[in-house]
């Protein structure tokens, strides 16, 4: 009887129950998530304004920015794609139809599920609607669900033709979330990032004129 028990226990030791898939097999390419306002008429927009810097979201209450060569490859990639889609970059923020705000999550990771209230209110260093004009808040015409993990690049396209009366909310008509398994605060892979930026436009054909 001891042998029986011995065999049974040995066989039971084979049982690791659920076998997790090999996550090491996953690609190092970035996950590219995009969402948009399905009621927006992107063909009605012709110009856009894009700052010459990338906001870096970190632990500091005060915002920091990448400028110069550190940001240029990212900004160039966006400009190339926006031009391909038929939009013209302008340096006059007040007259632009669209605005592009680009943020890099360097040292803050959290998950959020937006419905209400506005999750970004009070978050240190995030873009403020007043940067774009006389708006008092953001309006997302879709549910935004994504993981804000370290190494993520977040891009939002705002409609600068949004009404400044009434609720005075600035509509975010398109956004993207780019992040990869190799991303971390110490490493920024420009090649993968630019490839992901290109993919974010490829999978958003409604942006094309």
């Amino acid at each position: 009887m001891k042998q029986l028990l011995f065999c049974a226990l040995a066989l039971l030791s084979l049982s690791a129950c659920r076998e997790d898939p090999d996550l090491g097999e996953l690609s190092t390419d970035f996950l590219v998530f995009t969402t948009h306002d399905t009621s927006a008429n992107f063909q009605g927009f012709s110009t856009y304004y894009m700052p010459d810097s990338v906001m870096v979201i970190g632990d500091s209450k005060d915002p920091t920015y990448w400028t110069g060569t550190q940001a240029s490859e990212i900004l160039d990639a966006y400009q190339t794609q926006m031009t391909t889609c038929g939009y013209t970059r302008t340096t006059d923020k007040a007259s632009a139809d669209l605005g592009l705000q680009i943020s890099y999550v360097q040292s803050v990771a959290y998950f959020t599920n937006y419905y209400s209230p506005y999750w970004w209110n009070g978050y240190p260093g995030y873009w403020d609607p007043s940067y774009w004009g006389p708006w008092g808040g953001w309006y997302y015409p879709y549910a935004v669900v994504y993981s804000y993990s370290i190494g993520s690049l977040l891009t939002e396209m705002v409609n600068l033709n949004s009404s400044t009366s009434g609720t005075k909310k600035l509509t975010v008509v398109w956004n993207s979330f780019l992040s990869g398994l190799l991303s971390n605060s110490d490493t920024f892979n420009t090649t993968l990032t630019v490839r992901a930026i290109d993919q974010s436009f490829t999978q958003s054909p409604y942006l094309n004129h």
Binding site: Q3, L4, F6, C7, A8, A10, L11, L12, S13, L14, S15, A16, C17, R18, E19, D20, P21, D22, L23, E25, L26, S27, D29, L31, V32, F33, T34, T35, H36, D37, T38, Y142, S147, S149, S179, G180, L181, Q199, T202, Q203, S204
Partner: protein, 210 residues
């Protein structure tokens, strides 16, 4: 992963040692109408499965009793995991959102229920049977991508015909059990945009028969 493989190798050694070391003095004890099986199993998903890569990540446990007319009844419990790597692709999540990523799909099944058996060969060292298993199938269907996992837990009706045999080469109660099976379950689920409608599998089992 390496740790699991090492554990399995060690377990296989222990089983072999137990089989060889089992005393022949117990030769008469196995001629009983009760039976039990503990098996490792290899499962092959059929059709357009959510995760269609065949694997040996599963076990089957079963026990029951044969009546004098060689009809038997018992109970079973099994589990199995099949995974599949899904290359990078773009797919819509809803009307407004799209995502581009690669994934690891996984289907973890746990069927359990009752077994009806008919033993058509009943020799001293060899017995063979056909069986039909009926029960419930729990299936966890999941997709791992990036650092996230989307999953759904589903339940369905389970049906599985099986043919098998048990050999007692050492004339002891402990024997070698082998079986071929097909299984069908009515589980349905959707993970992101990937739908699962019914689970079909076939495979084989090798283990111990008592």
């Amino acid at each position: 992963m390496k740790r699991i493989k090492n554990t399995r190798f060690g377990a296989a050694i222990l089983i072999a040692a137990a089989l060889l070391g089992f005393p022949k003095a117990q030769a008469q004890e196995y001629s009983t109408n009760a039976y039990a099986n503990i098996d490792w199993q290899f499962n092959v998903p059929l059709g357009a499965s959510f995760a269609d890569k065949a694997s040996g990540w599963g076990m089957n446990f079963e026990g029951g009793y044969y009546f004098p007319n060689n009809m038997g009844i018992g109970a079973f419990f099994a589990y199995h995991t099949n995974n599949q790597y899904i290359p990078r692709q773009t797919f819509a999540i809803n009307q407004s959102s799209a995502v581009t990523t690669d994934q690891q799909h996984s289907v973890y099944q746990v069927p359990f229920g009752v077994t009806g058996r008919y033993r058509f060969v009943d020799g001293n060292t060899y017995s063979a049977y056909v069986a039909l298993k009926l029960g419930t199938n729990y299936a966890r269907i999941s997709s791992d991508f990036y650092i996230l996992e989307a999953y759904q837990k589903t339940w369905g009706f389970y049906l599985s015909p099986e043919v098998g045999m048990t050999i007692h080469p050492l004339q002891t109660i402990l024997g070698l059990h082998m079986a071929l099976y097909y299984s069908y379950a009515t589980n349905q689920g959707t993970v992101m945009t990937f739908k699962t409608d019914q689970l079909n599998n076939f495979g084989f089992r090798i283990g111990l028969g008592f």
